[in-house]
């Protein structure tokens, strides 16, 4: 005879457990395993008294799929029945299952109906009855072997429904398919998986159990939330929701419940009482089913409150159970839908696959034409972005010189998703410099250009795809691979220097890097200073005051070294006043200091005018800030041996020191102590940056753009010859 095991997951199931175990004994089930996941009631006592095998697991180890797999592993019957703690087998249950598996050779599972208990609410009683009656009426997909009230074989293409409230599995089938490691709806997933694998299943009306959830209306709603959340996780099902359809559905369900009650001769008062519950039940069910299947949009705390099982989002998505060796530590997988398209990496992949778009044929004399069509491709920006300020100071002036200018935002990561083009244009004008041309998001309206200009590594691959360009150029503000640790970003940033783009670099040091490290065609421009803003202000300098650009969120600013240098200076000269600026958050330091947040250019010029020494460090390309300090007559300490010498020389207006806190403290101390040195640096600084204007920077960039066009003409001439 076929051996049968029954597995019953239990938690606080004392109400029906005794009755259930008694029914199993009556049916003659040889092997019964109760898996308790932390009951606080008499469940354990009842199981022990019944003499069945008992396995206790921690509540957090429970999940519907994983725990049932564990139960199947712990038993040995050729058939494995699963029951819930509130499902009591009716007489003839086991024999009916044995009959079902004898119907065909390849039956992998069978399931029976859930009959309402005497005190089950009319809504649930009707629903259960009508639901399972639907399987009886439904003939099997292929051989039409259904007969009234008889078992029905279901195959691939038929309904995949399966319910572990009352189901029985052939061990061979379970071993092949196994329950998915999901927290909910593991039975539905199994039903679909087994049919797809070629197994059949049987609906056996005679293998019935008494079963009903005895919940309040609110508990029902929370259970529906759990069920549909699980269904979404296992099958991707999203419950549709529309107000008018919901209203129609609820009214028809309430009417059906009332008919059901009338057919069972319930009195008018009872009918009225249940009608109110019915209305709340069906309306709430629709709403909470819809919410459950869209639960990924809810915050975790709300998840926990809505879930009857009290599980948050991360638990619902299947966090691994800890502890017992029997439980797989591999977390349940979650299906993630496609959310993004056209990320920067996709664009890179397209360029690597297809190569850059071909350039338009050069036209003789185009490099010397008075008005050029210039299209600048920029990455997303925010207020205070130094690189964008440089770009728009120059582009604004190119526009004023009569060139036809347009701006194109490449925003593959969606940073500016909620900012529409007219707003972008206004922000450029507000944050950086006046710009009268159009601003586009994306390239759907691309019109072609004499020179397409990339302005950051994230813009290069997009720019390379643009057609109808005569030439391409790359305004390089910094050596961007150094912004990243070893990463894809670092590699892609370096990749942008290898497309034969003519680079216009923001310092001679940067130009040399591009030529020497990447073999790029490059020339340099000098960053300009807004001398109307940055000039010595009519304010007395405060003695022994050091101002430090402590922008710690930018690693290339070497803030830890700067703070160590200031700590050393403070140790040597306790009277020194230290002011940190450039970040909104307060930094913890080993010395007392004063803090000002991010300042406007006007405010900065006053700060520089009343300080004694400026400290501004850069581990990559030299930035605008030391020039602005010098323009205000403030001597500045910078790092030696990186990029500053390429602009200021080794003994120029800057006080240079190596990347060493003691040497930096020495440099600051020299300026604080040596009055003559301070005055020389201050005077030389003002004189040095006087010629560094944005007009001059624009001249250099314009020359670079024309150079890019000239290179194209030269190449075409060579090709003709």
């Amino acid at each position: 005879m076929t051996s049968v095991a029954t597995v019953i997951p239990v938690k606080d199931g004392e109400r029906y457990l005794e009755e259930l175990l008694a029914a199993l004994a009556r049916e003659g089930v040889q092997e019964v395993l109760v898996i308790d996941s932390g009951s606080h009631d008499r469940s354990l006592e009842i199981a022990r008294a019944a003499g069945v095998e008992l396995l206790e697991i921690a509540p957090e180890q429970f999940s519907h799929g994983r725990t049932r797999n564990l139960g199947a592993e712990r038993t040995s019957g050729e058939l494995i029945c699963f029951l819930t703690q509130d499902a009591t087998p009716c007489p003839g249950w086991l024999a009916a299952y044995l009959d079902a598996f004898a119907l065909e050779q390849h039956v992998g599972a069978a399931y029976g109906p859930h009959l309402p208990r005497a005190d089950t609410s009319p809504m649930i009683a009707r629903e259960l009855t009508e639901f399972f009656a639907g399987f009886e009426a439904q003939p099997s997909g292929q051989n039409g072997n259904a007969r009234a009230h008889g078992p029905v074989v279901q195959r691939a293409g038929d309904v995949s429904f399966l319910s572990n409230v009352n189901a029985c599995y052939a061990r061979a089938c379970w071993e092949e398919i196994r329950f998915r490691d999901v927290r909910y709806s593991e039975d539905q997933a199994f039903g679909a998986d087994m049919l797809a694998a070629g197994w059949t299943k049987v609906y056996q009306p005679a293998a019935a159990v008494l079963h009903a959830h005895d919940y309040s209306t609110a508990e029902f709603m929370r259970r529906y939330f759990d069920e549909y959340r699980g269904l979404r996780q296992t099958s991707g099902h999203v419950e549709p929701f529309a107000i008018s359809a919901t209203a129609r559905h609820v009214l028809s369900e309430v009417a059906a419940d009332r008919r059901w009650m009338s057919e069972r001769d319930m009195d008018a008062a009872t009918r009225m009482r249940w009608t109110t519950r019915s209305l709340a039940h069906h309306a709430g069910r629709r709403v909470f089913s819809a919410i459950g299947s869209r639960s990924e949009r809810l915050p975790n705390a709300l998840h926990r409150r809505l879930s009857l099982e009290g599980r948050g989002a991360e638990a619902a998505n299947g966090q691994p159970a800890q502890g017992a060796g029997e439980v797989s530590p591999v977390p349940a997988t979650a299906q993630i839908e496609q959310k993004l398209s056209g990320e920067v990496y996709d664009v890179v992949a397209e360029v690597w696959r297809d190569g850059p778009a071909p350039l338009s044929d050069p036209v003789p004399g185009m490099a010397e034409r008075e008005r050029l069509r210039l299209a600048m491709v920029i990455p997303p920006f925010s207020r205070g972005s130094g690189g964008h300020n440089t770009l728009f100071q120059i582009f604004s002036r190119l526009e004023r010189r009569g060139h036809t200018c347009s701006v194109w935002l490449a925003d593959y990561n969606g940073y500016a998703r909620d900012v529409w083009p007219a707003v972008l244009r206004e922000e450029i004008n507000e944050y950086f410099a006046p710009f009268k041309g159009p601003v586009y998001k994306g390239f759907a309206d691309w019109q072609g250009a004499d020179v397409a200009i990339a302005t950051g590594w994230q813009t290069v691959h997009a720019m390379l795809q643009l057609e109808r360009c005569r030439a391409r150029a790359y305004v390089v503000n910094d050596h961007e691979p150094e912004f990243y640790p070893a990463s894809v970003e670092q590699s892609l940033a370096a990749d942008t220097y290898r497309y034969d783009l003519h680079c216009i670099a923001a310092s001679p040091w940067l130009r040399d890097q591009l030529i020497e490290r990447y073999g790029a065609s490059a020339e340099a421009f000098q960053l300009g200073v807004d001398h109307n803003t940055y000039q010595p202000r009519p304010v007395a300098r405060r003695p022994a005051t050091v101002v430090y650009y402590a922008r710690y969120v930018t690693p290339r600013r070497a803030v830890p070294i700067g703070l160590m240098a200031l700590a050393e200076l403070k140790r040597r000269r306790p009277d020194v006043r230290i002011v940190l600026f450039g970040a909104n958050e307060v930094l913890h330091a080993s010395f007392p200091y004063e803090h000002v947040t991010v300042l406007s250019p006007e405010q900065l010029s006053w700060l520089y005018s009343e300080a004694t020494v400026g400290l501004c460090l850069s581990l990559t390309n030299f930035s605008l800030m030391p020039k602005e300090m010098l323009a205000c007559g403030l001597p500045c300490v910078e790092l030696a041996g990186i990029s500053a010498e390429s602009i200021f020389g080794t003994d120029g207006p800057l006080e240079l020191a190596s990347l060493d806190p003691n040497r930096l403290a020495d440099a600051m101390e020299r300026l604080l102590v040596d009055r003559e040195r301070w005055e020389r640096r201050s005077r030389e600084g003002i004189e040095f940056v006087a010629s560094h204007t944005w007009e001059h920077a624009t001249d250099e960039v314009e020359a670079g753009l024309r150079h890019a066009l000239r290179e194209r003409e030269a190449l075409a001439d060579t090709a003709i010859r």
Binding site: V363, T404, S406, W420, P421, A422, R425, P438
Partner: protein, 94 residues
């Protein structure tokens, strides 16, 4: 070099000059057209600032059910108000 060859070269040069002039004219026309296009787009962006700021797409809004009816109702109200104002003006004149 024969006279015929020299003359043919001159003709080619002249033709080249004509073509270069034509290309230059077309180039400046292209720049002019793009400048005008840019100006028009920029002007519309300037006008649409608040619509973009509030994420209002009026075309999409007017395609929604009831939008045309609402607009019709507003026009009807406006015509009633105008008729009332006209009547009041004519009464005050008389």
């Amino acid at each position: 070099m024969s006279t015929a060859e020299t003359s043919s070269e001159r003709e080619l040069q002249a033709e080249n000059e004509i073509l270069r002039a034509r290309v230059a004219a077309l180039e400046s026309e292209l720049v002019e057209v793009q400048a005008r296009t840019n100006a028009v787009v920029a002007q519309w962006q300037e006008r649409a600032y608040w619509l973009d700021r509030w994420h209002l797409d009026l075309n999409a809004l007017m395609r929604k059910p009831g939008a045309a009816e609402l607009r019709g109702a507003l026009r009807a109200i406006r015509s009633v108000v105008r008729a009332y104002k006209r009547a009041r003006r004519s009464l005050s004149r008389s």
